[in-house]
């Protein structure tokens, strides 16, 4: 009996917390589904479901969604690829200075972006990449590599050392080992890295704010921020646009939850 009461209490508490956590998203959805006269009564349900806000919200940020896709997918692929390059020698081969190089790359995890922002801005301008999509690829790759290296290194160290020894006895060169054996064996780590990089780059804001200027280049986070910053906000439009902008990351999280959690716990250990 005591056990059952305890269990009921536990569930009641967890359900309450979960409701509190999800409430802001539910409020956003409720507001987004309403016709504009009803928006002001935040606790009422829509008397009729209207997709008007979603159409307007989508129209307001659609170019940003397109830009973010164009920025995110290649940056995710390239930063993960460069991460595999660094993680391979750092996890499989012993050499002089390996720990020093590893720590140097790790330092990159901790440097606040503000500390590199001014020189980065000048460098990107000098390279002719200011306000361009390739500029965003470069920046997201450069600042993604410490993360991808760390996750992938942690995954690659779990690959048994016997594998590289056996491969070298079979006459497989070190470079061929990377391509033919390590990458296929490490694919779970690579998948986790993709997922984390997708979220990080899609959600990125500071670089978008400082090195993009034209609407044809700006990522969706910048579109959303200028929407939030308006003086006379149309809340229905804004809530719909917000939900549309976060849909990709929530969907990726729900579909690839295992990889997502693997990756996060793989970085921070």
């Amino acid at each position: 009996m005591k056990k059952r009461v305890q269990l009921a209490g536990l569930y009641a508490f967890l359900i309450l917390v979960t409701l509190l956590v999800i409430a802001p998203l539910v409020v956003a959805l409720n507001t987004a589904l309403k016709v504009s006269e009803e928006v002001w009564d935040v606790t009422s349900l829509p008397t009729r479901i209207s997709l008007r806000n979603f159409i307007e919200g989508f129209r307001a940020i659609s170019r940003g969604l397109f830009n973010s896709t164009l920025i995110t997918i290649p940056s995710m692929l390239i930063s993960t690829f460069v991460g595999t390059l660094a993680a391979y020698p750092l996890s499989q081969l012993r050499f002089k200075g390996d720990i020093a190089i590893y720590l140097l790359i790790l330092v990159g995890l901790y440097v606040p972006f503000q500390t590199v922002l001014i020189p980065l801005f000048l460098l990107i301008r000098k390279l002719g990449l200011y306000d361009t999509i390739p500029g965003m690829w470069l920046v997201n790759t450069a600042y993604g590599v410490p993360y991808t290296t760390l996750i992938l290194r942690n995954f690659f160290t779990t690959v048994p050392k016997e594998l590289i020894e056996a491969a070298s006895l079979d006459g497989c060169s070190l470079a061929a080992y990377y391509w033919r054996i390590l990458l296929p064996v490490g694919k779970i780590g690579i998948a986790a890295t993709f997922i984390l990089q997708f979220r990080a780059i899609w959600n990125e804001f500071l670089f978008g704010l400082t090195i993009t200027r034209r609407p044809q280049i700006m990522p969706v986070t910048i579109y959303l921020q200028s929407f939030v910053g308006m003086t006379d906000i149309k809340w229905g439009h804004l809530m719909a646009a917000t939900l549309i902008a976060i849909l990709p990351t929530i969907a990726v999280f729900l579909f690839f939850k295992r990889h997502f959690v693997n990756g996060l716990t793989g970085v921070y250990k």
Binding site: L10, P24, L93, I99, P112, P119, Y143, T210, F227, A245
Partner: protein, 300 residues
């Protein structure tokens, strides 16, 4: 590979080839900018003109006498308390409650983590609506509960706005500690807890003497990364209040951005960036030393 190379040379060549690109990126996008920022912080420059003027420590002394800087630093310190004490405490409690075989476990875990997956700008957008003084859910709920007196201008009142920021930051950020603790608890063998119970330990005693010590690594990770996050926080505050009203919710990241990209005082912006760097290094330095030791232990 080339015929003339022996095994060792081949190995060295492979390592150099693989590390060339990552190391080059590190030099160009971390090392060079940090040094350049340090250099800039001792100069006066508007970002456009040909010449910089040497300014000694002037940018730093200006910062120390700036009220915006003091407000921002104070807010960062308050946010550290939030991120290092309050948020992890909530994350630990929820992780402990869910650390048992039960129905709906995955469901709870998934929902509780969702706010952590979205961009801080979206969190700001939603919370700006939640905090709307006239129509937002928070003040409406307070009124409905007969607590209308507690209703606030959550983001507009200089005395309250930082708490508005903190509430939304807690919502957006607590999933991280929750997840790390959850993963940490999985490494605690159930047999150990059972054994302590057989020895007559109460639930609280086994928590204190068996579970907490095993969570030490997770706690170190959380403290290091959450402190760092509280120091460099930018997006959420920028989108929610822009640091206002009158800098009362500003943080060092916003202070730096404002000097650099709004006022074009590159030297002063760089000085603020260096302060951010030093604060982070104070936190991360010890953490890196610790984790590099464990790297060496694994190697040996």
């Amino acid at each position: 590979m080339s015929r003339g190379l022996n095994h060792l040379q081949k190995k060295t060549l492979t390592i150099v080839l693989f590390l060339a690109l990552p190391v080059a990126l590190f030099l160009a996008f971390f090392l060079y900018p940090i040094i350049y920022t340090l250099y800039l912080s001792f100069h006066e420059w508007d970002g456009i003109s040909q010449y910089m003027r040497f300014a000694g420590f002037m940018n730093y002394s200006r910062m120390l006498s700036s009220s915006h800087f003091r407000l921002a630093l104070l807010n960062n310190l308050q946010l550290i308390v939030l991120y290092v004490v309050l948020i992890p405490a909530a994350g630990l409690l929820l992780a402990l409650l869910l650390n048992r075989p039960m129905k709906g476990k995955t469901f709870f875990e998934t929902i509780l983590f969702i706010p952590n997956t979205i961009t801080p700008i979206a969190a700001a957008s939603i919370w700006k609506w939640m905090f709307n003084p006239d129509y937002g859910l928070i003040n409406r709920s307070l009124a409905a509960l007969g607590l209308a007196k507690l209703a606030q201008n959550w983001l507009g009142d200089p005395r309250v706005a930082i708490y508005g920021i903190m509430i939304s930051a807690a919502w957006a950020g607590f999933g991280f500690s929750f997840l790390i603790f959850l993963a940490g608890l999985r490494t605690v063998p159930g047999s150990l807890v059972d054994a302590s119970k057989i020895d007559g330990a109460s639930a609280l005693q086994s928590l204190r003497h068996v579970i907490f010590p095993m969570l030490a690594p997770s706690t170190v990770v959380i403290v290091a990364f959450q402190t760092l996050y509280a120091i460099k926080i930018f997006d959420l505050v920028f989108a929610l209040t822009g640091g206002g009203p009158a800098h009362y919710t500003s943080v060092l990241g916003i202070y730096m951005y404002d000097l650099t990209f709004e006022q074009f005082l590159m030297g002063q912006g760089a000085a603020a960036a260096i302060v951010l760097f030093v604060l982070s290094a104070l936190i991360v330095g010890p953490y890196l030393v610790l984790s590099s030791r464990s790297v060496e232990e694994i190697r040996q």
